[in-house]
Amino acid sequence: MASQSIIFRETKQGKGFYILLAVLGAFLALGALSFFHAEHHGHHVTGMNNQIVWGLPHVFAIFLIVAASGALNVGSIGTVFGKKIYQPMGRLSALLAISLLVGGLIVLVLDLGHADRLIIAMTHYNFKSIFAWNIILYNGFLVLSAIYIWTMMDRKAKGFYKPAGVAAFTWRLILTTGTGSIFGFLVSRDFYNSAVMAPLFIVMSFVFGLAVFILVLHFTYKWTGRELGDKVMNRLRYLLAVFIAGVLLMELARHLTGLYISQRIGVETFILRDGGIYTQLFWVVQILLGSILPLSLIFCRKLKDNRLALLLAAGFAILGGFAQLYVILIGGQAYPLTLFPGAEVSSDYFDGAINGYTPSVWEIMLGVGGVALALVMVTIGVKVLRFLPESLSDAVADPHSK
């Protein structure tokens, strides 16, 4: 598995641990408050409506779920593809994956009109629904990631390390295919119904998951006074760049296809040119700040080995990813459904009109609560179990391995 010199240790007891938990706990409490408020009064207290049926909570939830499958990649590269330098990070990678998924799912579930009927979602399956398949995929991902962690932590289970890693990696690819297909299978919406949504979401997961992993790795090491060398971080740095470029390629293919098919030109020009906030989010936040800027920060020669530049690159990649999901989800719904191609339609119910959406504070609170839950799980996880190597300095991380 990992190099001989790698020793895993729990993080130490300290004031910082409790301060972090208290801060995250406050956000968790706000998330809980938001749930009870909407659950009691109904969704009329939110910004969502009968046109924009999925709102900010879904942006948060899907970001976290997609990032979860991507966070597991760091472990998979070590286990499945045998890159030794990644192997010491496998445990944290799987812990982060589980935490992000639980954080995302909690937002998704608590936004349901009937969150109390979760048991129905677990017992009544319509197997033609990709949503139903996703419920199975999410649960399976949690189980496989937990088994993967076990094979890394228990010497007796070492024999299952590789198969568990391969199983978790395969499962996560299927899982993100499922998440992308939630949109890909929507026959009536020109902005969604495309097989490219599945691979797009997979590459997006590579970016989101790795960016979150980079930030979590850096700050856990910094706040616990452990050493984290540039060799490890530079591997992650260039990997992030490759993934960002991958997303750009998929987006290019998706939008060019949309512009080529006259049926889709309406929604494409809306998103790319006339969509106001959605157009700005796409060009300024997703493309410029979320893709071009991180690539520049990574490849600028003067910023080589510059940790701050890498952290900024990861942070902007996350911001860009969030904007990307906002544009896909909300922008895609903002554009009206086409009932009669080539005709202007109107009604007293927003037919033919661009649908408005302003997220309420409750939706922001719920979404941030999900993020807080994921971070609480990681914080407690690394405290009580041996997830983190004592050191990932250049000497320890074995840079000369393949």
Binding site: H41, G42, H43, H44, M48, N49, N50, Q51, I52, V53, W54, L112, G113, H114, A115, R117, L118, I120, A121, H124, Y125, N126, K128, S129, I130, F131, A132, N134, I135, I182, F185, L186, V187, S188, R189, Q333, L337, T338, L339, F340, G342, A343, E344, V345, S346, S347, D348, Y349, F350, D351, N355, G356
Partner: protein, 250 residues
Amino acid sequence: MSQNRVDEYRRKFVTALGGVAAAATVAPGFFLREAQAAGEVPTRSLDQAVTSEKRWGMLIDITKLTDGGAGMVEACKKEHGWDNNPLSRDDQKAHWARVVNVKDKLTGHSFSLPVMCQHCENPPCVDVCPTGASMKRADGIVQVNKHICIGCRYCMMACPYKARSFVHEPLTDQRSYSPRGMGTVESCNMCIHRIDEGRLPACVEAAPDAVIFGDLNDPNSAVSQALKAMGGKQIRADLNLNTGVRYHGI
């Protein structure tokens, strides 16, 4: 299985109570018949299961609708009480049916039509529902089983016609025959309670000269005959959903 037993028990109980059994012996099957210009709905005896022998549908001749279907929409509102959403914003209020005005960009040709659930043969809302709450009854009626709807709104994302609404607030003064529920999705159910009693849907009754309702599977039904003679267009026919609601004049 247990649900079937409950249904069976309930059917027997109701049959015995109402003395319907006697009538059923006289004319097993369809023992009441309501025939009008707007179509016909034979009454199904309560001990008979709904089968796919019938497929309910309607033809709306918009050239005969003087109000674009506003009267039909009003009748639907009154029947199901879905306009009772005082707390919801306009974009959150329920709409089981609405009048859509259409104007061709090139020719300027314009018309209005009522749009509601189109009761597709292959409904996207049923395909995507994770729990099976969004369902198509054997006789072609697409509706939501509000007992197992978890309120995920995926069906609303999938519906090409924006026919579905999510209930955004607590409800009062509901119709006993058309229960709704906060946190669940709802839509036109072709007045399933009326059909089961051998009555026409409320919107059809409101526009008897413009709408013909009946069994699309029966080539001799009034609606099938009218469709054969006049044709009947589908909204978004390109999606190949084979809708149960057809239009003349669009």
